[in-house]
């Protein structure tokens, strides 16, 4: 046995990078809402990026650890505590056998990711550990965790009980590169951007929008000024993606998020730049956003440097854990 869920929290699910290759049969990628935080949580505990993590919302779960483990919690605004001691976000730490991990909330932010050294033992469906609640597959029985569920962790590679040399965390200035200016969401043109009326195009980038209560992992509905097309158009279904901004017939916007449908029939008037999706994923209903249009070239350059940044983080922590592993094996 590994961990026992004492309280499930609002929605706690196993997620990974998502399921690719099945959009053509209507199965979207799903996966973590904040892919940056999810990947880094894995790197911090020496996992590869394919491992599953737990995606946690507020109020978070209460988890009893039945064994000693190396963990990391990433994301924004949460305050994890072991028994009553606060542990820092974005930093690997050890949790002793029979301790309870809880999640307080301190500042703004919406999602946290809990990774365990060795990875969680999740069920794989179509090449991914991500929970698909629609068809009840993947993750933990295809559903959110419930009270008394038991989840196993994979095999520890380092000697967790004795381990004293865990690497340090991600410094705040590095996180600022991703999450600063939380309400400014950069976007680029998409398939039907030129259908937007000139005055609406202007309004979209000068006024603020509020994230509506009816927002979830499928999409964020936005409240704000009504936008219009040059002329109304009935579109037939066509592919969409995480970050696609659709204009609904009533003039409101919806931003498609991780659990979006594979195709849709509303005009795709813009797309959130991929580097700002983690920021958007950390916003809650009631918070405001301002869209800022950037060039395609700029968005791509930002994406490539983000990928480079992630690769560097991965490399740094991989080296550290390899050293731990090598040191342990010399004492065998």
């Amino acid at each position: 046995m590994s961990i026992k869920i004492l309280r499930p929290g609002l929605v706690t699910t196993l997620v990974d990078e998502g399921r690719t290759g099945f959009r053509s049969i209507g199965i979207g990628p799903g996966g973590a809402m904040d892919l940056f935080a999810m990947s880094v949580a894995n790197y911090l505990v020496g996992n590869d990026k394919r491992s599953a993590t737990l995606e946690i919302h507020f109020p978070g779960p209460e988890i009893l650890f039945q064994q000693t483990h190396i963990l990391a919690v990433t994301g924004m605004g949460f305050e994890p505590r072991i028994d009553d001691q606060v542990v820092p976000l974005w930093t690997p730490f050890k949790i002793e056998k029979d301790s309870i991990l809880r999640f307080g909330k301190k500042t703004r932010g919406s999602r946290a990711y809990l990774a365990v050294h060795g990875g969680w033992n999740a069920q794989e469906w179509l090449g991914s550990f991500s929970t698909h609640s629609g068809v009840q597959a993947g993750g933990y029985r295809g559903r959110a965790l419930q009270k008394n569920d038991i989840l196993e962790a994979g095999i520890n590679k380092v000697e967790v009980e004795k381990e004293k040399d865990l690497p340090g965390g991600i410094p705040p200035h590095e996180l600022n590169r991703i999450y600063s200016a939380p309400h400014e969401i950069r976007c680029i043109a998409s398939a039907e951007t030129d259908l937007l009326s000139p005055s609406s195009e202007n309004e979209m980038f000068t006024s603020s929008f509020i994230i509506h209560r009816q927002s979830n992992r499928m999409g964020y509905r936005l409240e704000g000024v009504s936008l219009f097309l040059r002329q109304s158009v009935e579109l037939i279904s066509s592919p969409v993606d995480f970050g696609t901004i659709q204009l609904l017939p009533d003039g409101n916007l919806i931003v498609l998020m991780a659990d979006h449908q594979t195709t849709g029939g509303y005009p795709r008037i813009a797309s959130v730049s991929q580097v700002d999706l983690p920021k958007l994923a950390q916003l809650n209903p009631g918070e405001k956003i301002n869209f800022k249009m950037i060039s395609f070239f700029e968005a791509e350059s930002e994406l490539l440097s983000r990928e480079k940044h992630l690769a560097e983080l991965r490399h740094t922590y991989l080296i550290h854990f390899k050293k731990l592993l090598y040191r342990d094996s010399t004492f065998d």
């Binding site: 690719t20 209507g26 066509s238 592919p239 993606d241 449908q261 070239f297």
Partner: protein
């Protein structure tokens, strides 16, 4: 025929959907010829995947190609963007397309339906028909699957006879049970799982349309031909896989 294909290839627009996806579009109509072209394009893209290809998604008259921006750019660093690399690759494929056989000879998949949908009366009243006439018209056509989208395994089929075609409900239902057979304009389809939905529900099939345990989980795929036939409640319950 080849001249028509040439015209189609030339009239494609290619635009970015985002940094990691582009969209090839052939207008905004439900047309068998255009859809055959899109399906053939999809086959060619996945037959010889370019480095960095994630997936290709064919729809009615458009197709999206999802790619790993870093991989594409890494291989072709001299191009300004990964989009430019993928666009050039696709333009080369487009130039070479000669159309595959049309799919009217494909085997017909027969789907039993208990016609007791909550909107059957609405559809009948709208067209001044009896329930039996709506059913007779719905089963009289061999439909073609144009695309899969919306939900896992949801097949968009056409075309519904104009005498029963009915627009979506003005207010979608928050719960449509899996197996429900619906109409939206000239399209007909089956909800593979329970979900919210706005289609006019005319019946339900006992057949499982999407089976997550199977290696090819969808009963229906683009290009398939489909006919419905009516069954009664006793047979429905005997065969119910939901």
């Amino acid at each position: 025929m080849n001249r028509i294909i040439n015209e189609l290839a030339k009239s494609c627009t290619i635009k970015p959907l985002n940094e990691g996806a582009l969209l090839i579009s052939l207008g905004n109509s439900i047309d068998v010829g255009i859809n055959l072209f899109i399906i053939e394009l999809h086959r060619r893209i996945i037959a010889v995947p370019f480095p960095g290809l994630i997936e290709s998604v064919p729809a009615y008259s458009s197709l999206a190609v999802y790619f790993d921006t870093g991989v594409v750019k890494g291989i072709q660093p001299n191009y300004e963007t990964a989009f430019d690399v993928v666009r050039e690759h696709l333009e080369n494929i487009l130039r070479k397309i000669v159309l595959a056989d049309d799919d009217t000879k494909n085997q017909v998949i027969e789907i039993p339906v208990l016609y007791d949908g909550e909107d059957l009366g609405f559809v009948a009243d709208r067209h001044f028909l009896t329930h039996e006439e709506v059913i007779a018209i719905h089963v009289s056509v061999t439909y073609r699957v144009f695309m899969i989208g919306f939900l896992p395994g949801f097949a968009y089929m056409g075309s519904v006879n104009k005498r029963i075609s009915t627009p979506r409900r003005s207010s979608p239902r928050t719960f449509v049970p899996g197996g429900s057979v619906g109409i939206a304009g000239t399209q007909t389809g089956i909800y593979p799982q329970s979900s919210p939905g706005g289609w006019q529900l005319i019946g339900r099939t006992p057949l499982r349309i999407f089976d997550k345990e199977k290696s090819s989980p969808c009963l229906l795929n683009p290009g398939d031909r489909v006919r419905y036939y009516p069954i009664d409640l006793i047979e429905f319950e005997k065969r119910n896989e939901y």
